[in-house]
């Protein structure tokens, strides 16, 4: 029988994988995907809690998060494109103009 703890464990694993990706990967696009993975880990936890707490609030929150995440994609990709036009790179180590 799959219970709440299984969903939470999966969500925690997804969140950790996302965090690992953000910290370790060097391509901006992959880092960005990892960020989305972390958001979706939170979504999974919310839906699971909503299901097992027998109340719908969590699912409502998830719909808003999905919408906001879509807006974040638009902004994030635009920023990456803006950088790419100036530097011809999407490598995170090339974000070094401001380091003194």
């Amino acid at each position: 029988m799959i219970g709440l703890s299984h969903y939470l464990a999966l969500s925690a694993i997804l969140f950790s994988l996302g965090l690992l990706g953000v910290l370790v990967r060097r391509s901006l696009l992959v880092v960005y995907m990892s960020l989305e993975l972390m958001l979706n880990a939170a979504n999974l936890a919310l839906v699971a809690f909503s299901r097992f707490n027998q109340n719908l609030d969590g699912q409502v929150v998830v719909f808003f998060i999905i919408t906001v995440a879509a807006a974040e994609v638009a902004v994030g990709l635009a920023l990456i494109v803006a950088l790419f036009r100036l530097r011809q790179t999407t490598h995170i180590e090339d974000l070094n103009t401001l380091n003194h």
């Binding site: 901006l28 409502v60 807006a71 530097r87 380091n99």
Partner: protein
Amino acid sequence: MNYGELLKLLAPESILALTLLLVLGADATFLSGRAPGLRRAVAASLTVAGCMGAIYWIFFFPIHGHLFSGVLVVDPLTQVTKQVLLLLTAATALLTLETAFTPHVGEYFGLQLLATLGFLFMVSSEDILTIFVALELASLSLYMLASFAKGNLASAEAGLKYFLYGGLASAFLLFGFSLLYGLTGETLLAKIAAKITTTPRDPLLVVAISMVLTGLGFKIAAVPFQLWAPDVYEGAPTPSAALIASGSKLASFFLLEKMMTIGLSSAVGSGAFHALAAGWVPMLAMLAGLSLIVGNLTALAQTSVKRLLAYSAIAHAGYALLGVIANSSQGFVALLFYVMTYGFTVLGAFGVVAVVERQTGSDRLEAFAGLSRRSPVLAGVLFVCLLSLAGIPPLAGFFGKFYLFAAILRAGAPSLGILWLVILAIALSAVSLFYYLQVLKQAFVREAPLELPFSVKPSTQLVLILLALCVILFGCAPDLLVSKLLLALKAAAPGLVF
């Protein structure tokens, strides 16, 4: 609850949204192709008119109420805070006239208004759903504002870094929220608090609190979540950095205080050195201590004034956290007074930096040499603002710090266990005087090789002088603001008076 009532409660926000459409519309239709100077002037006037209209509305039509049992809260305290936020945005819009980094005038002012709209909703939210949406509205607008000088590599990079750190922070915040929701089955802060008392302390709760603090710690730029701040302050266009430093700080601190004192009021813990107990107070005490040390000591080594202001902002986040840690209504008032006056002060400082940067092409310390002879007004404003940031009486910064220390000492009165943090804060505020004086030394003592007078727009001069006067006024008569805040807090939800 009908839509008429909703519209009345949200009148200031509606005015701001209409202004936003007006600014975009005007810029896209009859102003397209005109001189950028004219477009900037029209957009800034519209923005200021919108902000003033909203302030006027709040002032003359006070209305209070809770929407959907607290999803959206409109009470005297949120209204005072909103007025200050609107003032800060109006001043930022006028200071933007001094810069010319983008041909997309309408969009830039529109985004400033959108960010402000996010701040207003942050102040009014007491439900994790609306908090998240408001926070993202403000954050997404600020990411774009930070990278708005598209052709400039520093700005593009600053925006992207802000975005990446911000995205990470909101993921943490969201996961923390989902755990809070899971533990209690509620999304309203007050109901979450009520449920937490009844359940025994859960290790998951500690994880949830730390994740929420990670997310909000990023917004207020507290160590160790401050990595974005220096780069963003330095690389972003100066008006964007000014808005991030003033309005965003005020809204985030207000949100943090509400989150902690309403949502987590039953998981306080203790930060006294001899009796540490799990909860959010010891966590915040650690953040505050680290911010004070790292912010003040790193600022000593800076040569870029915007970067220096960033590290000073990190240190000031440490001071302001003392007000949250005090966990009392006096602490709340002290925090608001501090962050509001800090907003005015830092806006003044950024305004001077914007002018100097435009005229000399640099924000290095050397660029400020001979400022007192090149523009006595700017030098005077810089003098007042930086000394206030350092906490010299009789300026607003002094009383801000004084109230914070008094609030936290009174809150920990029986044992004085939190005294270690106060001593640290006082010692480091002496250190901070050194780096502020470095800037003033350049402005007043050093001579520039070629001391041509600066040409400063009359609107900029007016705003800067008004900001400096505010700093002096609230320093000489802090009671003007403090008594207003106290009254508002008492009239607000009784749950907030403790």
